[in-house]
């Protein structure tokens, strides 16, 4: 859900009023969209929009600002016309200001177009950059595919975000996946973020290899031959979030060893000697 929130629902975030200034919110928008024609290089209509003084000075046809009144301000009118209007700015099909930038400029003018005083503006969306799950897989994707093909498993990107890691899948032929195979995945160890090893022939010995998959978040060991001793070896997996031990011989000792993994919040122990699932 976290990833969706970042990539898809950004536009839906509530925009709260927050203090803003000309320098922090208005100038960057004008610089980005207007200064190409109204700046140091070109001064179309003898207008520059790259400094507060220049904006106040206006164009050859007169002022572009009426402090306190966005509707009567040429600056605001030009960027809110229908895009096909001859007077619409930016002209010539250059990318228009975002709805948020337009709103900020409207609020700024309404507040009297202050040079340095704060005014209330819709908050800029906070772009939280997700912590990369793993190193970029792109340079090693071919290598990973060839390796997977040779071994008879699958290594698939978790998403199109190339730092989202690879998922190891074995469901097509779980009985072909054993401890020796896991050791051979070493060249892509840091790319594996999810490992589906249920019903494979993996045992405690194989978990020594898994313990080196430093970016592993989810591990499914259901119905494998692993025991508490093997699970204890997983302590170095600092990013491990969930582990499925359904139908294994892992007992309380194993579960308590997993307390060493700081991010581990979900452990399934159905059908194990552990009395009740946490």
């Amino acid at each position: 859900m976290r990833r969706i929130a970042i990539f898809l629902f950004l536009a839906a975030l509530p925009l709260r009023a927050a203090p803003a200034t000309f320098a922090t919110r208005v100038a960057p928008a004008l610089e980005k969209h207007c200064a190409v024609c109204h700046g140091a290089e070109k001064q179309k209509a003898k207008l520059r929009l790259d400094s507060y003084a220049a904006i106040v000075a206006g164009a050859d046809s007169g002022p572009v600002l009426k402090a306190g009144d966005p509707k009567e301000s040429e600056l605001h009118r030009r960027i809110t016309l229908p895009p096909h209007d001859d007077d619409f700015m930016p002209s010539d099909g250059k990318p228009p200001l975002s709805a948020l930038d337009v709103k900020v400029i409207e609020r700024w003018i309404a507040a009297g177009a202050p040079e340095s005083a704060e005014f209330d503006a819709p908050a800029a969306p906070v772009v939280r950059v997700a912590e990369p799950a793993a190193p970029d897989y792109l340079p090693r994707l071919d290598q990973a595919r060839k390796l997977a093909t040779t071994l008879g498993v699958r290594l698939v990107p978790r998403s199109r975000v190339t730092t989202d890691g690879l998922v190891l899948r074995t469901a097509s032929a779980p009985r072909q996946c054993d401890d020796a195979l896991l050791a051979k995945l070493a060249p892509v160890a840091d790319l594996i973020v999810e490992a589906e090893l249920s019903r494979t022939r993996v045992t405690d010995a194989g978990l020594r290899a898994v313990a080196t998959w430093s970016n592993l978040q989810r591990l499914d060991l259901a119905r494998t031959g692993v025991t508490s001793a093997g699970v204890a070896a997983l302590a170095p997996l600092a990013k491990l979030e969930s582990i499925n031990l359904t139908g294994t011989k892992v007992d309380e000792r194993g579960v308590s060893a997993l307390k060493a993994n700081p991010r581990l919040t979900r452990i399934w122990t159905f059908g194990t000697p552990v009395a009740s699932s946490p």
């Binding site: 859900m1 093909t149 699958r154 990107p157 978790r158 899948r169 097509s172 399934w268 159905f270």
Partner: protein
């Protein structure tokens, strides 16, 4: 637009993959060779790759209550309807609208026939006929505002399965396997199981409901029977050994490849793949269907005994199928078409399905699989708040303006109710959902953008979610 694997250029690559990949794998793995098991990894890949969206659900178990269960006796409590029992249905609701068997008849309100009770942390009201589902209601997302286009069984089934009322489109299981590929080497990616209860005349259903339409036929649903031979004619005839059978299939594959060398027909590739899949299944299906390995506690949870062919046994098999990497499983339970005998028959259907469907949720959850498995329970349409009396004791007619269905797992919020119908339950009025919305949501959870998942067919970019537009039901996503 997705690349289509059977245009002449890519077709070559596709065939090469199949003949060297799946074919070789089949024999290699079964006959103990290891050389070529591999190419399977590539051939399993679907056309949507890498996935554009985070994959919340890796697989789908779709429970179809064929015939159209009455929401008024299951999931949509309507006290006002009870209060108006026997009174004429307000004409303002029904005037000029299409009905199935009640067209032109006197329309009379028919009270919900069984009491409702509150379940779970949010005190969700569902019928007392469904106590087990009540017990897992906190894992269920109940949608009371589903609607559909069709009002008769066959088009409604087609619409629910393929997004179009007219037969010929690929079903959702085929779309999903085409998009994501199959994870299972020795079982089909799309499995269908049908339960016929001990009740009266069961609702007719047809194999076109799990057809691959214009997609290659290897994506079609494969029906497994839960009683007797799981797949008809899968067992070897009398004296034939597995080695002999393997030799036969190998020889036939060679002939097919020869044929393929001079005839451009992608179905030859499908035929090669199907022969080999069938050979694989001769080994994998008996192991799959053998419930003796399940402990007594599990059998009791579902309420089945091995080999009884019940809906409960099929739910348990569905869990075993997802464990084996099968991508899309559809279970049909027939006989929900209660034009008459509603009071008499509906409780029996609930009894046949309630415990098993709840057990499936519980079992997937305790094994850590519910998160990644989307479970869907739905009929093909809903039923009228009006009674139908022209076929015996009272029942309800088909209805497409309101129906209830539910989802669980697969990144969908549990314990919530989405949408509502008007106070008599005639039409969905709040957060109205369409079948296309449901399909869009399902694809979204599987990591696929429904509006970009298209196949050129007859000059159009055909989509599972149709052309009218569909919306992912964001409010129900966890």
């Amino acid at each position: 637009m997705m690349p289509f694997p059977f245009s002449p250029h890519t077709r070559r690559a596709f065939l090469g993959k199949v003949t060297q990949g799946v074919g070789a794998v089949a024999f290699a793995s079964l006959l103990g060779r290891t050389t070529a098991r591999a190419a399977s990894a590539a051939s399993a890949r679907g056309v949507v790759w890498p996935l554009p969206l985070p994959q919340k659900a890796k697989r789908v178990i779709w429970l179809t209550m064929a015939g159209g269960p009455s929401q008024f006796e299951t999931f949509d409590p309507k006290p006002k309807l009870a209060a108006m029992h026997g009174e004429p249905m307000p004409e303002s609701l029904t005037r000029g609208q299409q009905l199935a068997q009640l067209q032109g008849q006197k329309l009379v309100c028919h009270a919900p026939q069984f009491p409702f009770a509150k379940f779970g942390k949010n005190q969700t009201e569902i019928s007392t006929l469904l106590p087990h589902l009540g017990g897992v209601i906190d894992d269920i997302c109940l949608i009371r505002s589903m609607t559909t286009d069709a009002i008769n069984h066959d088009p409604a089934h087609m619409f629910m399965n393929t997004g179009a009322q007219i037969a010929g489109r690929p079903s959702m299981g085929a779309w999903v396997n085409y998009g994501l590929g199959s994870e299972s080497e020795n079982l089909p990616g799309f499995v269908v199981m049908v339960t016929t209860g001990p009740g009266r005349s069961p609702q007719p259903i047809a194999t076109r409901q799990w057809s691959s339409g214009f997609l290659p036929s290897r994506f079609q649903g494969v029906q497994l029977h839960s009683r007797g031979d799981a797949v008809h004619y899968l067992s070897n005839p009398g004296q034939t050994t597995r080695a002999q059978q393997g030799a036969d299939v190998r020889a036939i594959t060679e002939l097919n490849r020869e044929h393929d060398a001079w005839v451009h027909d992608p179905e030859i590739a499908t035929r090669i793949a199907q022969y080999e899949m069938a050979f694989q299944m001769q080994a994998s299906v008996p192991e799959l269907m053998d419930l003796r390995g399940e402990d007594a506690r599990t059998l009791a949870l579902y309420g089945c005994t091995p080999g009884d062919g019940s809906f409960a046994a099929n739910c348990l098999l569905a869990r075993r199928l997802v464990e084996r990497g099968v991508r899309f499983i559809q279970l049909y339970h027939r006989d929900w078409d209660h034009h008459s005998l509603l009071r008499e028959e509906l409780p029996l259907r609930c009894k046949e399905t309630d415990q098993a469907a709840a057990a499936l949720i519980t079992d997937l959850k305790q094994r850590g699989m519910l998160d990644e498995t989307l479970v869907v329970w739905t009929g093909e349409f809903g039923r009228t708040p009006m009674s139908q009396d022209n076929k015996g004791t009272a029942g309800r007619d088909h209805h497409n303006k309101s129906m209830s269905m539910w989802l669980a797992g697969g990144g969908v919020k549990g314990g919530i109710v989405h949408g509502a119908t008007d106070e008599l339950g005639y039409a969905a009025v709040e957060d109205v959902c369409t079948v296309h919305d449901l399909h869009a949501t399902m694809l979204h959870q599987l990591g696929i953008r429904h509006d970009a998942f298209t196949v050129k067919f007859q000059g159009l970019d055909a989509k599972l979610t149709g052309v009218e537009g569909a919306n992912v039901i964001e409010k129900i996503l966890a």
